[in-house]
C-alpha cells in the first residue's frame, strides 16, 4: 500500500516544484539605519513596493509568479561603519538575500559595496551620493558591475541642480528686491561631501552675477549657529546658501527665524526635507528651502499616486530614501524581462533601461550612475511656507507653486 502511494506523491511533488507552484520568494535585503529617518524611509518605500507587487500576484520569473520578501537589515551606519559591513554580510550569508538595496552614509556604502561585490550580489544604492561608488564600476567593471545608483544623483550633479535653482532664486531677488547683484553667504558643514560643492559655489556664483560675502563652515555636529548667523547678518547677505545634512539644518532654520534674518536660506538641507522640520524648528523655519525628491507634483505619472499612498499609510511624506520603491520595481522589470534572477543576466537589461519611477525617470551611464536631467533625475526644490513644504522647482513640472521671499 505504502509503495503504491509513494510514486504518486513523489510525482506530484516533482510536478509542483517543476511548475513553481511552491516556488521560493525573491528575497530583497533593505539596508539602512533603521532607528533613523533614512532607514525608516528605506523600509517604508520597500513595503509599498512589496505589497503592490505581491497583491498583483508577485514577480513573474519565466512565467512563474514569485512573491517578494523584504528583509529589514539595520546597518546602524550613521554610528558605525563596521556595523554596516557586518549587517550586509549577515544579509548575504544568514538571510540568503537575492538582492541588496539601500544604504545612506557614503563611507558605509563604500564599505558595504565591497562585501556585495565579493558575493556578486546586485546592490541598488538608494541614498549615498559619493561619486566613487560609480567610479569603481568604470575602474573595474567585472568586479563592480553589480552596483547601480538609483538615488540621489552624484555630488557633482547635486551641484548642477542646486546652482540651477539658485539661479532662479537669484532672479527672483533681482526682480523683487531690485538688487542686480544678490549677496550670497555660504553656510556649509565641514565634511568631505561638502568640499566640492563649496569650491564649486565660490567659483560659480560670481559668474552667475552673485557676490559671495563669505563662507562659514561649522562642524557637522554643530547645534548652535547664532554666532555664524550674526556674522552673516552683518555681511548683508540676501541668500544663505546652505549645504548641511546634520542637526545644523534645524538650528539654522530656527535661529534664522528667531533673529529675523532678512535673507532666504536655500541649498541642501537634509533636515528640511523631513516632515518633522516644522515641529523641530518650533515653527520658525519659514521660507527655508532645499532640494528634495518627492512631492505631490507630476515629476512622473507615478509620483502623485505614490506620495498620496505613502502619506495615507505612514501619516508623513516620503524622503528620498523611500526610492527603494523604485528600486524594487526596477528589479521587477528586469526580472520579468529576462525571466531570471541571475544578476549577470539582469545587469545588461538595467543598463539599457529607462525606468519610470515615483522619484524620477532613471537612465544609467557606463559607470552605472544616474544620467542627470532636469525634471527626470534632478529632483525638485521645496520651500517651507507656513508649516507646509511647498514645491517650487523645476517650474515646468505640473503642480509647482511660487517661491516666496521673507516678509
Amino acid at each position: 500500500m505504502r509503495r503504491k502511494l509513494l510514486l504518486p506523491v513523489v510525482t506530484a511533488l516533482g510536478l509542483i516544484f517543476s511548475q513553481g507552484v511552491w516556488s521560493q520568494n525573491i528575497k530583497i535585503a533593505i539596508l539602512g539605519p533603521m532607528a533613523f529617518v533614512q532607514g525608516e524611509n528605506h523600509w517604508a518605500g520597500a513595503e509599498m513596493a512589496r505589497d503592490e507587487i505581491n497583491k498583483a500576484g508577485g514577480i513573474s520569473v519565466g512565467g512563474v509568479k514569485r512573491q517578494v520578501e523584504i528583509i529589514k537589515i539595520d546597518t546602524n551606519e550613521i554610528q558605525s561603519v563596521p556595523d554596516a559591513t557586518n549587517a550586509i554580510e549577515r544579509a548575504i550569508t544568514r538571510d540568503k538575500a537575492d538582492f541588496l538595496m539601500g544604504g545612506f552614509r557614503s563611507e558605509a556604502v563604500l564599505a558595504m559595496q565591497e562585501v556585495a561585490m565579493d558575493s556578486k550580489k546586485l546592490f541598488l544604492g538608494v541614498g549615498a551620493a559619493d561619486a566613487k561608488l560609480c567610479e569603481n564600476v568604470t575602474k573595474d567593471y567585472e568586479r563592480y558591475k553589480y552596483w547601480f545608483r538609483v538615488t540621489p544623483t552624484k555630488s557633482a550633479d547635486l551641484a548642477r541642480t542646486v546652482f540651477a535653482v539658485l539661479g532662479a532664486v537669484g532672479n527672483q531677488i533681482r526682480t523683487d528686491l531690485k538688487k542686480e547683484t544678490p549677496k550670497v553667504a555660504i553656510l556649509a558643514e565641514k565634511a568631505a561631501w561638502t568640499e566640492a560643492l563649496v569650491k564649486a559655489a565660490q567659483a560659480a556664483l560670481p559668474k552667475m552675477k552673485m557676490e559671495v560675502v563669505g563662507t562659514w563652515q561649522p562642524s557637522p555636529i554643530a547645534t548652535d549657529v547664532t554666532a555664524e548667523l550674526s556674522a552673516i547678518k552683518r555681511s548683508g547677505a540676501d541668500i544663505v546658501f546652505t549645504i548641511v545634512s546634520g542637526p545644523m539644518g534645524i538650528v539654522l532654520g530656527r535661529q534664522m527665524g528667531e533673529l529675523q534674518l532678512p535673507a532666504v536660506a536655500f541649498g541642501i538641507n537634509v533636515e528640511a526635507q523631513k516632515d518633522g522640520f516644522w515641529q523641530a524648528t518650533a515653527g520658525k523655519g519659514n521660507y527655508v528651502a532645499t532640494l528634495d525628491t518627492f512631492s505631490e507634483v507630476e515629476t512622473t505619472p507615478k509620483t502623485i499616486p505614490f506620495v498620496k499612498a505613502f502619506k495615507e499609510r505612514y501619516k508623513r511624506g516620503p524622503t528620498y530614501n523611500a526610492a527603494t520603491y523604485d528600486a524594487i520595481h526596477i528589479l521587477q522589470t528586469a526580472i520579468e524581462q529576462t525571466g531570471s534572477i541571475d544578476a549577470n543576466k539582469l545587469i545588461p537589461v538595467i543598463e539599457k533601461m529607462e525606468a519610470v519611477g515615483a522619484a524620477g525617470i532613471d537612465t544609467w551611464d557606463k559607470s552605472h550612475d544616474l544620467i542627470w536631467a532636469v525634471g527626470k533625475t534632478s529632483g525638485i526644490a521645496v520651500q517651507w511656507q507656513d508649516g507646509q513644504k511647498v514645491p517650487f522647482w523645476p517650474p515646468q513640472t505640473k503642480g509647482m507653486k511660487p517661491f516666496k521671499m521673507p516678509k
Binding site: V37, W216, S219, A227, A231, K233, I250, V251, A282
Partner: protein
C-alpha cells in the same frame, strides 16, 4: 563684531559653566570622573521633550519634573553602579562610560534617531548693544546666573556645603570629624547632576535634542575642567567663559574656519597645561591630599 563676540561668548560660556561646575564638583568631592555627566544633561532635555511636546504638560510642571526625575535616576545609578566600584577610579570611569552609552541607546530605541525641537518658554527677541538676542537665550543666561549663585550659597553658607567642602579637601579628615563621606558623595552626585539637568532643560529649546547630543559638550566640558584645574569650581567657571569666548572669537575672526572653534579651544587648554600642568586654579598633583 565686538558686540556679537561679547554676547555670544557670554551665553555659550554660561551653559558650559553649568556643565563644568557640576562635573568639577563631583570630581573634587568624591574623585568620580563622571563621563555620563553630559548624558544626564541629554536625559533632562529628552524628559522635557517627552513631557512638554508628547504629553503636552505645562512648562512650569515639565521643567521641575524633568530635573527631579533625572536627579533621582542619577542617585539610583550612583547606588547601583558607581558606589560599589568607587574606590577604583578606572572602574568608575568605565562604568560611567557604560551608563552614558546605555542612556544613548535607550533613547535611540525609544525616540529614534531624529532631531527634535522644543518650543521656547518665551518667544521674541531683544536688541542688546546692537545684537539681536532671543528671550530664550536671556532666560538661559538668567538661569545660569541664578543657579551659579545658588550653588555658591549652598557650598559656602550651609552645613551641607561645609561637609562637601571638607570632604573635597580631605576625605579621611572629614570621616574622622564625623561626616558621612559616602552620603556627602551621594548628595554631591545629586547636586552635580541637578546642575547638568538644569543646563539640559534650559538649552533644549535653543539647541537640538538627539541621542548623540551628549558627546560634543562632553569634550568641551572636559577641556574646561582641565583648563580651570580638575576639581576647582572657580577654575571651571573661568575656564567655561574662556572657552565660550575663544569659540565666539574663532567664528567671527575666521568664518571659513568656524568648525575649528572646538580645536582652538582644545589647543588653548593644551597650551595652558604646558605652562601650568595643574590648570589655572588646580592643585599641584604632588600636593593633592
Amino acid at each position: 563684531m565686538f558686540q556679537d563676540i561679547l554676547v555670544s561668548g557670554l551665553i555659550n560660556g554660561g551653559v558650559y559653566a553649568l556643565l563644568a561646575i557640576g562635573f568639577s564638583l563631583i570630581f573634587g568631592v568624591a574623585r568620580i570622573v563622571n563621563i555620563a555627566h553630559t548624558a544626564f544633561y541629554m536625559l533632562a532635555a529628552y524628559a522635557l521633550y517627552g513631557l512638554l511636546v508628547k504629553a503636552s504638560m505645562p512648562l512650569l510642571f515639565a521643567i521641575p519634573l524633568s530635573v527631579t526625575a533625572v536627579v533621582a535616576l542619577s542617585l539610583v545609578c550612583y547606588k547601583l553602579v558607581i558606589e560599589p566600584v568607587r574606590q577604583h577610579e578606572s572602574a568608575v570611569l568605565i562604568a560611567t562610560i557604560a551608563l552614558a552609552l546605555i542612556f544613548q541607546e535607550s533613547l535611540l530605541v525609544s525616540f529614534g534617531g531624529s532631531f527634535r525641537g522644543i518650543p521656547n518658554a518665551v518667544e521674541g527677541v531683544v536688541s542688546i548693544i546692537g545684537v539681536r538676542v532671543s528671550y530664550q537665550r536671556l532666560i538661559v543666561l538668567a538661569v545660569v546666573a541664578i543657579t551659579l549663585v545658588a550653588t555658591w550659597y549652598l557650598l559656602n553658607r550651609t552645613r551641607l556645603g561645609l561637609a562637601i567642602r571638607t570632604a573635597a579637601n580631605d576625605q579621611e579628615i572629614a570621616n574622622l570629624m564625623g561626616i558621612n563621606v559616602s552620603r556627602v558623595a551621594m548628595y554631591t552626585v545629586g547636586i552635580s547632576v541637578g546642575l547638568a539637568a538644569i543646563a539640559g532643560v534650559v538649552v533644549a529649546p535653543v539647541f537640538v535634542v538627539d541621542p548623540l547630543m551628549w558627546l560634543s559638550p562632553l569634550v568641551t566640558m572636559l577641556a574646561i575642567v582641565v583648563l580651570g584645574g580638575l576639581g576647582s569650581l572657580k577654575g571651571s567657571l573661568i575656564g567655561a567663559f574662556i572657552i565660550g569666548y575663544v569659540e565666539a572669537i574663532t567664528v567671527f575672526a575666521v568664518p571659513s574656519g568656524s568648525y575649528l572653534k572646538g580645536a582652538v579651544a582644545l589647543s588653548i587648554m593644551v597650551l595652558v597645561l604646558l605652562i601650568r600642568p595643574e590648570g589655572l586654579f588646580g592643585v599641584v598633583f604632588e600636593e593633592e591630599r
